[in-house]
Subunit: 293 residues, 2 copies
């Protein structure tokens, strides 16, 4: 199976799982369930759940055990996008090439839709199975950390607070580490935990996830200035107009590309202890990092 | 010990637990942690956590086992108030006699503060201990239901959608059941589960919680028109100006009082199977239902 086919297979599995597990878009009250489905099925690439399932697969062929967690991380990712796009936050009209939630449903419902998806993430996580090494409480705690005011939300807060300010590279790294890398790393960790990874395997995958997550964000910064809105499916050049600090702004375009390359190599290195089992993760990373949107 | 002292004791226990368990208001990024503490320690009566702990106490003298869940329900309650008060929702400037979160920190941070508290609820729940009958996954699932698009959020959505519309009594009950009663009932259920309640005990306490939750909301509706803003600590008469359906609007003031009385009696009846052990819960209910704000 090619890596594109492998990705597709995992993507279909998580889509099917989410469709089966969430309240149907017609169930009462229909507005909120419609709005949850609208954002959740807006054509995302399912990067985080695919990483979650591939991490499980690197440990144990029964990777389906990680589906509740793959679904949960996608719910958290989608909620964070909906709230990020609100007029009081990034004020964005376009996401994945479609009008954002508040443009369609209004701001009040968009806030509640994000809330509902965040809550749904934990409802899904609660249905996961415990393993020999990890309890469901461990899995919920891991997800809880990723979504917390010390990780995902810390990054969003720092992002808001630093808009229009000159910041250092270490401050920028703090934002990216929390806003982007933490959930990517936890997606991978959760997949590994659901598959009962050994402490050594979990450590290797954690390192991989952190480097990969940072590399992903550096490339995102680069694409924001080198691509058009049409290519991105969201407003391009937004970081510049919002006076947000980015890697290219701090290091120049070449410097940012070098940093992305350094982090990518570090990510690949981290997979070494897993040997051949990690080949799918390596291939997924290579797709992620060579993407054009 | 008087019931006021009993309430105070439980309130102090949950406050101490929350202070100990949440990131300190000075921890980085300080804005979000300050804002979480601001709303969480704004002088709430801790109704839901006190009910949670008292329910645990009705089953087992080691009621402290329910503290993580008592803390979790208060985090969920507080997050829902912060988001409810946003300009795009109820647009309220005053809560518990103090400026609302978005008035102090701005809308973006207020959205994130609500998000952080919702997420925190699950981080706390993940630290609960399993009992013989209930796993941590059961506890997380119960909390997940209470906060979901089929309970708390369903009520908020229906509330938004029905503003300015003529609605029936059954529609109004749907709103109140979901927006208010569901979390109150789950607070009680979670305390009982943490104390390893038998199925029969849990059923009795569930019935109690549902009737109590509804009665509480009917009285809230009554107070909104009979009390001043100063007495309430929040804007009075808001339901009228927002053209919200309320029990007094549908049944008249006397009719609403009769309904509150009927629900209260039903709540007391539900406690019968628990015998003397339920006396504290009965006393708490009596304080709740005779309150003046």
């Amino acid at each position: 199976m090619s890596i594109r086919e492998y990705w597709k297979l995992k993507q279909v599995a998580v889509d099917r799982y989410l469709k089966k597990s969430l309240p149907s878009p017609k169930s009462k009250p229909a507005t909120i369930h419609e709005a949850m489905h609208y954002s959740l099925f807006a054509g995302g690439k399912r990067l985080r759940p695919v990483l979650c399932l591939a991490a499980a697969d690197a440990i144990d062929p029964h990777w389906e055990v990680a589906l509740p967690l793959a679904g949960a991380v996608e719910c958290i990712h989608t909620y964070s996008l909906i709230h990020d796009d609100l007029p009081c936050m990034d004020d964005d009209d376009l996401r994945r090439g479609k009008p954002t939630s508040h443009k369609i449903y209004g701001e009040g419902i968009a806030v509640l839709t994000g809330d509902a998806l965040l809550n749904q993430a934990y409802q899904l996580a609660a249905t996961a199975s415990r393993t020999k090494r990890y309890s469901v409480a461990d899995l919920v705690a891991e997800l809880g950390y990723a979504g917390s005011s010390k990780a995902l939300i810390a990054g969003q807060v720092a992002d808001i607070e630093n808009e229009g300010k000159k910041i250092t590279l270490s401050q920028l790294r703090y934002i990216h580490q929390n806003k982007t890398a933490a959930l990517i790393a936890s997606s991978i960790r959760l997949g590994a935990m659901a598959a009962n990874a050994t402490p050594r395997q979990l450590e290797a995958l954690t390192d991989f996830g952190q480097s990969l997550g940072l590399a992903f964000q550096v490339i995102d910064d680069i694409l924001d200035i080198t691509q058009t809105s049409e290519q991105l499916g969201k407003s391009a050049g937004k970081d510049l107009t919002a006076e947000k600090a980015t890697y290219p702004a701090l290091l120049g375009l070449d410097g940012a590309k070098k940093e992305a390359n350094r982090l990518t190599q570090k990510a690949y290195q981290s997979l070494k202890p897993l040997g051949k089992k990690a080949s799918r993760l390596e291939q997924i990373a290579s797709i992620m990092l060579s993407r054009e949107n």
